[in-house]
Assembly symmetry: C2
Homo-oligomer: 411 residues x 2
């Protein structure tokens, strides 16, 4: 592999033009889109327009004039198109954590007599914590978290399992679980499937409707580029809508919110997953960010994602770094998401030295280095240059005196 | 009262200069700050800087570099100064609805053996709905909503009351409840006090610590001018911190979030009220909006608020409109918040005609007209001109053919 090969790959990349839509800081190679996606120029414009004009000028009339009131459903449907969900099954609102709480309660309600939520011990912690919070609130007899290893997930489903809660792509290792077969296994045992799409939505084809997934949650600030802490989303399959019941029933989930009745009556559609007033500026940012997917095929995104990560690892091997950097992501790209994770005793120091060298990756305690690949804006040249710099950092030993001490909040 | 009297009032107004910090659309009199506050120029600048620079340029490094990670606590402390809360008792996060759910569960946990949440039938619906949602989830034996009229609230507290849930200022009538005496009555009966400050925070002195309130929630998009759907806040008195337990325990509420442990261990401070990743753009807007309160005395804000509303109603009377427009807010300004509500069979039509005439007020079903007074930017001239236009609208009968049909989402 040579620089001319790399140039050819970029020239032939059908997604290459997407990069122009995003702001890339000068002298930066950004391999952290799995944590926080880049800002698109359309998003910057929209945030400015919503703030200065819709809010600043049109004020309260914007609820109708600019349809703020329908944002959760409108943005939800746009997200739905990226995760294989027909319209009316996704709303944008709250955080993953809060949305998961709603979904857990809803799932337990439609699976009476079953109390177990089966998940993986290596799931992203907030997913596990939300189950623990619900368990403490309603009692282990009604909700009990069972954590197993990823490989034991399918075989651990039993007649007490109300729902399997799995994150499609592991935040640490990048391992991708087969949601379709997992869903089939859960349902064959009478359980429901709850999928967390934090690390898959927007970077690979997800087919919630086709796979018959029951509920899903996910965030919009990673591969969807919605901005730091942008509102999350929640999916509930149409077939569950008539039996839906979730406890965070705020006024936006009422069937007629503007009647201001003292008695809650749930909307008979996805609106019932809404609680409070939508955060208009942040949600408008998500809406604008999703424009970068217009005309984009997620199959092409996935193909490029795999090519980028395969190129990265082959260059790591070519530079003789693969002994020192132990790959903990699956070797088979089909079974991983859009990231590569390596273990190294000086992972923190390497990550800091890389950032100073202009390569933004991230560190995960205690000793993991993560590189994320965002096909909408990462180029093959990014990968080539990143591995060149990675090699320089490691050979210069610039990382050896850096110890993990700061809080590192990227997820 | 004459125009020269009005000019003198504005000249002598110690808060008059505050108006320059806000963007007021041309030819608009904005009397709807009780629904959505104006955008300050500092907020517009901050949103732009956070989007283009902190996110766009500095990306993931901003979690440390721009201290995104501490935003909920930092903004929370700023809010705390406006509601009489010493540092470390307020965090900014989620919506009022979601925060109320946390607080309800926390209150029930520290009052075992009591299951009733006592509130008013005319409370803002989302407050009632959240109790109903929790009741359905954990059973009426553990949580039961009791709704009474405002005048019966204090006398309805009994040995089953776990908490009194009251909104200080009624969203419809503007009536202000005496939180201090209500808190004393609740606590004398062994109950806790949960205050909703949606219509009082930022527009009148609130003394949560002094009044010994147990928990409070509130929004930042009304008198705090945080922007449409801006994140809300939650207060828990220091004395409860060691016994706190709330069920929406996301990863940001963990004592060591970046350990990514599979087992939840609550932070021993207000951080445990956090769930998901903070919405950075929206929360930064709140942070910037609060700068408008620098050096401002809430006692002066309250004095001006009362003067503005008293002036409004006296002009309504002077123009002979007070028979047709029936005041449903308390006549005594001490017992109302910063709004006046009038009943009129054509309230909807009048509101629409007023908006077209440049006066933004709002309508509440079925027949209420609300005028809100925001002392940071409303002038006495605003009030004078608004009543002049109100008189014109009513006498022209321009409102008679307008029927309430659209959704009107202002709260």
């Amino acid at each position: 592999m040579s620089t001319s090969d790399i140039s050819r790959l970029d020239e032939q990349d059908p997604l290459a033009s997407g990069r122009q839509q995003f702001h890339l800081p000068a002298d930066t190679i950004y391999l952290d889109g799995n944590s926080l996606g880049l800002m698109s120029y359309a998003t910057r414009e929209r945030v400015s327009e919503v703030t200065a004009t819709q809010w600043g000028e049109h004020l309260i009339t914007s609820w109708n004039r600019h349809k703020w009131i329908d944002l959760p459903q409108r943005v939800g449907n746009k997200i739905g198109r990226l995760i294989g969900a027909a319209d009316g099954q996704v709303v944008c609102c709250d955080s993953i954590s809060v949305n998961l709480f709603k979904v857990l309660a809803a799932a337990l309600y439609i699976r009476p007599g079953r109390n177990q939520i089966l998940s993986t011990v290596d799931n992203f912690p907030t997913d596990l914590y939300m189950v623990q919070g619900l368990e403490q609130l309603i009692g282990a007899g009604n909700c009990h978290l069972v954590m197993v290893e990823e490989d034991e997930l399918e075989t651990s489903i039993n007649e007490k399992t109300a729902a399997v809660l799995a994150t499609e792509v592991n935040f640490r290792t990048g391992r991708r679980l087969e949601l379709q077969s997992l869903t089939a296994a859960a349902q064959a045992a009478g359980a429901l499937m709850i999928a967390d799409l934090a690390h898959s939505a927007g970077v690979m084809p997800v087919e919630l409707d086709n796979w018959q997934v029951d509920f899903a949650i996910g965030c919009t600030y990673k591969y969807m580029n919605g901005g730091p802490g942008a509102p999350a989303f929640v999916y509930a399959a149409q077939r569950h809508h008539t039996a839906l019941q979730q406890p965070l029933c705020g006024w936006m989930g009422h069937v007629r919110p503007f009647d201001f009745s003292p008695h809650y009556e749930a909307a008979d559609d996805m609106s019932q997953f809404l609680s409070g007033t939508p955060p208009v500026i942040s949600m408008s940012a998500v809406d604008a960010a999703l424009e970068a997917f217009d005309g984009v095929s997620l199959a092409e995104v996935r193909t490029k994602s795999i090519q980028l990560s395969e190129l990265f690892h082959s260059l790591v091997e070519q530079h003789g770094l693969s002994t020192e950097l132990r790959l903990i992501s699956p070797k088979d790209p089909v079974t991983r998401g859009s990231q590569l994770s390596y273990q190294h005793e000086h992972a923190y120091g390497i990550c800091q030295a890389l950032i100073e060298a202009g390569v933004i990756a991230d560190f995960r305690a205690p000793d993991f280095l993560r590189f994320g690949f965002a096909p909408l804006y990462n180029s093959y040249a990014d990968v080539w240059n990143a591995v060149e710099l990675l090699k320089e950092v490691i050979s210069s030993e610039a990382h050896l005196d850096r110890r993990w001490q700061e809080r590192n909040p990227v997820t």
